[in-house]
């Protein structure tokens, strides 16, 4: 079985192993950690404003008395979910658009690739920055859609060019002559054959989205209050980082660890799925 071979290779890869362990620990911290702390992320301790880390508030408190430990973990949950959803949407969209454009060719190809070019030319930062503050009060899922909408174009170009060669393979031709509808051929025969590329791309998209969310939130263009994410916490903490370093250090450190772990896994996956490749 190929998946077994790949898994074996992945476990042998030291990078991927460390990355995987780190990621599991981080996810455990994000989802199990809150139950261990004494405070909920919505609690406010009016006796401790901006208190440094101590036995009661493990990671200190914010200027309105929130427990940093609880708030940071809550923010990390959101960042992880955003990363995963954006990666899923973006890679899925890239696979579908690229495969349809490559398989059908002709005007479908032209129109789709034009759309890709247009999206590449539009300044994504600007568009997300204009729209997302107006989503205040709406679901944060819209923000995920926005981030994903600008993260799929380059992959879809790669998918398209790979589809062009897959289209001529015998088994695809055979499926066509058996009368299987084309959209089914794309979903059943073309996309699965691109799975290595797509898995690697999705993994790297997760870290890209986590960084993207944090970057937009840094200017207040990302997740809107009262929701928190690592990005909003870092933005908040950076303002007072010299006087109250715990406001900045914990979310920033977790962000770096999270991205690092995902990137290590992504790199390991590339070695495992695609041994010949370089870069």
């Amino acid at each position: 079985m190929r998946s077994k071979v790949v898994l074996g290779r992945l476990l042998h890869n030291r990078q991927a192993r460390y990355g995987g362990i780190a990621l599991i620990l981080l996810i455990a911290l994000a989802y199990i950690g809150p139950y261990l702390g004494a405070y909920d992320w919505t609690d406010k301790d009016f006796l401790a404003f901006l208190s440094p880390p101590d036995a009661d508030h493990w990671w200190g408190t914010t200027s309105i008395g929130q427990d940093m430990y609880a708030v940071t973990l809550r923010g990390m949950q959101k960042s992880i979910v955003i990363g995963l959803l954006v990666a899923l949407f973006a890679t899925g969209l890239a696979a579908l658009v690229g495969a349809f454009a490559g398989y059908f060719g002709g005007w479908v190809d032209k129109v789709l690739m034009w759309g890709v070019d247009l999206l590449l030319v539009l300044p994504s930062f600007l568009i997300i920055a204009i729209i997302s503050p107006r989503l205040r009060g709406a679901s944060w899922l819209w923000f995920v859609v926005l981030l994903a909408a600008f993260a799929w174009m380059i992959t879809s170009r790669v998918v398209r060019s790979m589809t062009l060669s897959l289209r001529e393979r015998e088994y695809v031709q055979a499926a066509l002559y058996m009368g299987i509808p084309r959209w089914k051929i794309i979903l059943r025969h073309i996309v699965p054959n691109l799975s290595s590329l797509l898995i690697i791309d999705a993994t790297l998209n997760v870290s890209g989205a986590v960084i993207g969310e944090a970057a937009l939130s840094f200017f207040g263009f990302g997740i809107q209050p009262p929701d928190v994410s690592l990005g909003t916490l870092i933005a908040e903490g950076a303002r007072n980082a010299t006087g109250y370093p715990w406001l900045f250090a914990f979310p920033a450190g977790l962000l770096v660890l999270l991205v690092l772990a995902i990137n290590l896994i992504g790199d390991g996956l590339r070695d495992a799925l695609d041994p010949g490749s370089n870069s």
Binding site: D117, L118, L120, V121, L122, P123, F125, L126, I127, A129, I130, I131, R134, S207, I211, A214, A215, F218, F219, F221, I234, A238, A241, T242, F248, A252, L255, V256, L257, V259, L260, N263, L264, D267, N278, S279
Partner: protein
Amino acid sequence: MGKFLLRRLATNVILIALAASLAYMLAATTMNPRGAYEGRQPPVAEEVIDATLDAYNLNDKTPVFERYLTWAGGVVTGDFGKTWNGGSVNEEMGRRIMVSLRLLLIGTLLGFALGVAVGAYSAVRQYRFSDRAIGVSSFVVMAVPVFLLATLLAIATYNLNRGLGFTLIEYTGEYNPRLSGWDQFLNRLNHLILPTISLTLGSIAFYSRIQRNMMLDVLNQDFVRTAMAKGLRRRTALFKHALRTALIPSATYFAFAFGTMLTGAIFTEKIFSWHGMGAWLVDAINQNDVNSVAAVSLFTAVCVLFAAFLSDLLVASLDPRVRVS
């Protein structure tokens, strides 16, 4: 060839026009420049606000399509309109492009040169300690987003300066306007240190990864062995034959980064308070400055397509296979 280039130019012009129009429409329909005038103390009469906004083509009482036509008519003749408070967008853009250029030129070039050097060195020393150290540190650096890196640098410098009792390294702004001549030049260089570090570290890590992989690919190939077999010194063979071929992918990325350089440094510019193009984007959005937003979008679109063109050109000049065909 000429026909192909012309067609490509035409598609690009259409793409730019479409992108800029979309950005204008988005900005014009969602932003509210009126707000900046309405909240004033003492209050301004509504007719006065209307007249002012009309003069700047920002009045939300005019249908958006009419405003768009006025704007587009101006852009075609090279006039990008007025900022939210009546300044000329053209002047602002000219000034900010120069600021960005002064900030980014050194960092972009340095990042590429050092990144390629580090990557090539790492490949030649494969699996030795230095190679591993470079690999690990580039992974760590790539996991630190630029806004985090810049903030960390600013904090570290703040503490350093406070510990020393005087300002050794500047961490905000472009220069001290009170100085002149040679002192001001040195002051400008001092102000460049931190933003340049924050810009270059990331690109060094990025380019060194690409360059190392490509170099390893090339080192085992026949033409490098031939070059050494015919009596070239190892150094010459590596530099003249291996490095040049292995440069193609990093050069492609570099061309792209160079073309989009001017709008790419939003975070560095904002955090170190340089008033360049990237910072303008954020400022314009925060100030509901519709015409500036549209101008930045248009400029970005031009940059992206120029960058794509530049990278094609560079690949053609480096890769003999492309050059000949």
